[in-house]
């Protein structure tokens, strides 16, 4: 049955690929140079342009496996939020758990509490020290104003920050001078029920730009194995503001703030009546970039972030973060580019264990985090050697040093790189403070302050090819050795959270894009991953639930302009099956297709999007099933 399904799916994927070929008439003269030359300058100023995504120099030269998702890739995929947009990077495994939860990881160890990924939005770290993972339902952005999402798989070395073990996701929104004018969109659908978004950008002053934005959405429920509706509808509203100030040639100051509030339907254990679990979030961030000279510049960033989230059984969590970060880049001599930085973060986490049988003790923890890094690029001829180290200290772990060495060789059209790194995943509250049951009863399962950081030695290599501006692709391979990985073991009559597991993982990642012609672009990739995860010698437990990873996954995105006003886009993806563990069920392999058909004019666009079209519903993790759905979205620009 499963084999038949995959044959059918691959046949469909092939068919989808070929129907994306642009069989249109030759009347799009005006998008070619010859056509554009015929226009008067006024007409030229009336043309809608598709903007080139500006990938900063450093990304094309970075000796890491990196994939970039541009604003246009997101818009043309029909993705409705950040996790759906992240499916457009094949080095990430994205599984939707239920209507408001996603589990996302790179290079393995994907679980409900996936904790090996560093995720940042405009420099603000959004993983929660509660369990080291990301609450994706809190990260709602106006997709229209995202500039790009950089996805690095592997420990990114010192370039991005602390706690990146398997990868880094860096989401960058456009500066407000690039989002001037108004944008409004209204959408309605079967799973994305309602969606309203607006943004207005203007300037207070020729050097002071701003934008204000707001968004509201309500999303429907997934479906259970039995066919019954799951209790997981939710909705969210947010309002945000950003300012960018360019006082002079050497300074840039940026300020952002956002407020959001939402509510999720959750199930109580005693009754099957749906309860209401609200959440809210606020943050304010300021960044100042100053250039001393062409050779030296620094960035100073300060932010405050707070979220409050309630779950079933009256369990709630309030997390407040204050962070200061300073980075300085300086070119020394002819060959050295030195980057160094220091950071201090203060996290105040308060938990209410409600009526839950298990929880965190103590309920409140103050967690100061100190970090520093040094990163030196030495360029000689076509070689570049990078030596870096990161220092990290939090309240649970001793000081950790994470060194890394990278070597790359660049020639016309290609770059080869290799790297060795050490990375750590610092203990989170779930590792140390967990108690089941809660005091005063003696604990059956308990965390421990002896829990040490998980450690990784990563060996990676890769090659990147650029063939003109029309196509580029990259292939990378890795071998990771994890030690002192999380375990729950029977020690002296108690189940203790300890570091009793180890693993080796290995794999390969391929991705690329091909601008076939002016109106057809393809991008995609595939990833192979395998692991050997087991208990350490003389430790008696089964760690297989720590890693719900697929061996193979692939996706292809086709973006086609049909003549002048129409767009027909597809994203087809395939994920291998996830084997069962003692805590999780098998998730069968699946292939699915999203399609988008849009009519686009100067200041108006209407898009009809179908998601997960190939089957009525399918499961991506555990047993909640994601339904086939469609939505219509109309947008205005003024």
């Amino acid at each position: 049955m499963e084999r038949f399904y995959s044959l059918q799916s691959s046949a469909f994927l092939v068919a989808a690929f070929f129907t994306a070929c642009p069989f249109y008439s030759e009347a799009q003269d005006n998008s070619t140079i010859a056509g554009l030359k015929k226009l008067s300058i006024e007409e030229l100023m009336d043309i809608d342009v598709t903007l080139v995504s500006r990938v900063p120099e450093k990304l094309t030269e970075v000796a890491s496996a990196i994939q970039v998702i541009t604003n246009e890739d997101i818009r043309r995929s029909g993705a409705t939020n950040v996790p759906e947009a992240l499916r457009l990077a094949s080095n990430l495994q994205v599984a939707q758990l239920n209507s408001s939860a996603w589990i996302i990881s790179a290079r393995g160890f994907n679980t409900v509490f996936a904790n090996k990924l560093l995720v940042m939005i405009d420099g603000r770290s959004v993983y929660t020290p509660l369990f080291g993972g990301v609450l994706w339902e809190l990260q709602n952005l106006l997709l229209e104003d995202i500039d790009r999402i950089e996805v690095v798989s592997g420990p990114g070395g010192s370039l991005w920050g602390a706690n990146a073990v398997n990868g880094i996701i860096n989401i960058v929104t456009k500066k407000s001078d690039r989002t001037q004018g108004g944008f409004a969109s209204v959408g309605a659908g079967t799973f994305l029920k309602e969606h309203v978004a607006f943004r207005y950008g203007g300037k207070f002053h020729p050097k002071l730009f701003y934008r204000a934005h707001g968004q509201f959405f309500s999303r429907g429920n997934t479906v259970l194995e039995s066919g019954e509706d799951n209790v997981d509808k939710w909705k969210n509203a947010q309002l945000g503001f950003r300012m960018d100030w360019y006082p002079n040639r050497n300074d840039e100051v940026s300020f952002q703030t956002d407020f959001s509030k939402g509510i999720r339907e959750t199930d109580g254990e005693e009754k099957r009546d749906s309860l209401r679990s609200p959440f809210d979030q606020q943050y304010a961030l300021m960044r100042w970039a100053h250039k001393f000279s062409e050779r030296s510049n620094f960035t100073l960033q300060v932010y405050y972030d707070r979220y409050w989230r309630e779950d079933a059984l009256g369990v709630s969590d309030e997390l407040k973060t204050q962070d200061v970060d300073f980075q300085h880049s300086i070119k020394i001599g002819r060959y050295n580019q030195l980057l160094w930085g220091v950071g201090y973060r203060y996290v105040d986490d308060k938990v209410d264990n409600g009526n839950s049988f298990a929880g965190l003790v103590p309920t409140q923890r103050m967690m100061p985090i100190y970090s520093a890094f040094v990163h030196d690029d030495i360029s000689l001829n076509k070689f570049k050697l990078t030596i870096g180290a990161k220092y990290f200290h939090n309240v649970f772990s001793s000081s950790e040093i994470q060194p890394n060495v990278r070597l790359s060789f660049t020639n016309k059209g290609y770059m080869v790189w290799t790297a060795v790194s050490r990375a750590i995943r610092a203990p989170s509250r779930f590792d140390v403070d967990y108690r089941l049951p809660l005091p005063p009863v003696a604990a059956i399962v308990t965390g421990s302050s002896d829990f040490k950081s998980e450690k990784l030695m990563a060996y990676e290599t890769g090659v990147r090819f650029q063939v003109g501006s029309k196509t580029s692709f990259q292939l990378s391979g890795f071998y990771n050795e994890y030690s002192e990985v999380y375990s729950v073991e029977l020690i002296e009559g108690q189940y203790r959270i300890s570091n009793g597991s180890r693993a080796e993982t290995w794999g390969a990642e391929f991705s690329g894009f091909w601008q076939v012609d002016d109106s057809w672009r393809l991008r995609g990739g595939f990833t192979y991953f395998d692991k050997y995860l087991r208990a350490r010698p003389n430790r008696n437990h089964d760690p297989s639930y720590l890693s719900n990873d697929v061996k193979n996954q692939a996706f292809i995105q086709s973006i086609v302009d049909l003549g002048s006003h129409f767009q027909l886009d597809f994203v087809a993806r395939y994920l291998d099956y996830i084997p069962a563990s003692f805590a999780t069920v098998t998730v069968p392999e699946y292939a699915t297709l999203d399609a988008r058909f849009a009519y686009s004019r100067k200041s108006f666009e209407a898009a009809l999007v179908g998601q997960n079209l190939t089957s009525k519903r399918h499961s991506e993790f555990q047993s909640a099933k994601i339904p086939r759905s469609a939505y219509l979205k109309v947008s205005f620009r003024f």
Partner: protein
């Protein structure tokens, strides 16, 4: 279900045609650059001989692909054939009449100080470009290309700008 979807897809594919209104950012900018030659006057003293080339220099990454060549093939500025040259950095720029500095090239102010006395039109993408001494800046508004023009800087370089171009541009005021 798959076959039904396929027929819908094929049906929509046949609905194309019409007056094109979208183009890629740098194709449009390339045509703008060519238009600058029609609205700005370079003095003959800027050229070695009546048939020496009008040189367009692109500094930094080549963001135009082959669009600039496509626009300028067989075209002339007066009697001067138009030639496009690419430079990785400011150090090696030869004689140029129009320089375009792409937005990721960070040392653009070095180019400006070097070129400010010669008969060169300097065009760029950076937010602060005109503040720093640039002459024409491209910016994007509602997905359309716009230009901001520093008339004084242009005239200081012995170039004359036609009022037809000033009319459609945002004029830069200190």
């Amino acid at each position: 279900m798959p076959t039904r979807l396929l027929s819908v897809v094929l049906l929509t594919l046949s609905l194309s045609s019409g007056f094109a209104q979208t183009a890629s950012e740098y194709a449009v900018k390339a045509v703008f650059v060519f238009n600058f030659l029609q609205f700005i006057t370079w003095p003959e003293t800027a050229f070695e001989s009546p048939v020496s080339p009008f040189v367009i220099g692109v500094v930094g990454k080549n963001v135009f692909g082959d669009h600039l060549e496509q626009v300028t093939t067989g075209e002339r500025y007066g009697s001067h054939p138009i030639v496009v040259r690419y430079y990785d950095d400011a150090v090696n720029i030869g004689e140029c009449h129009l320089i375009f500095i792409e937005s990721d090239y960070t040392e653009w102010d070095a180019v400006l100080t070097e070129r400010s006395k010669k008969n060169t039109l300097i065009v760029g993408d950076h937010a602060n470009f005109l503040k720093g001494g640039g002459m024409i800046r491209f910016f994007v508004e509602n997905n359309k290309i716009r230009i901001e023009v520093n008339k004084d800087a242009i005239e200081k370089n012995n170039l004359t700008i036609s009022s037809k171009l000033l009319r459609v541009a945002t004029v830069y005021k200190k």
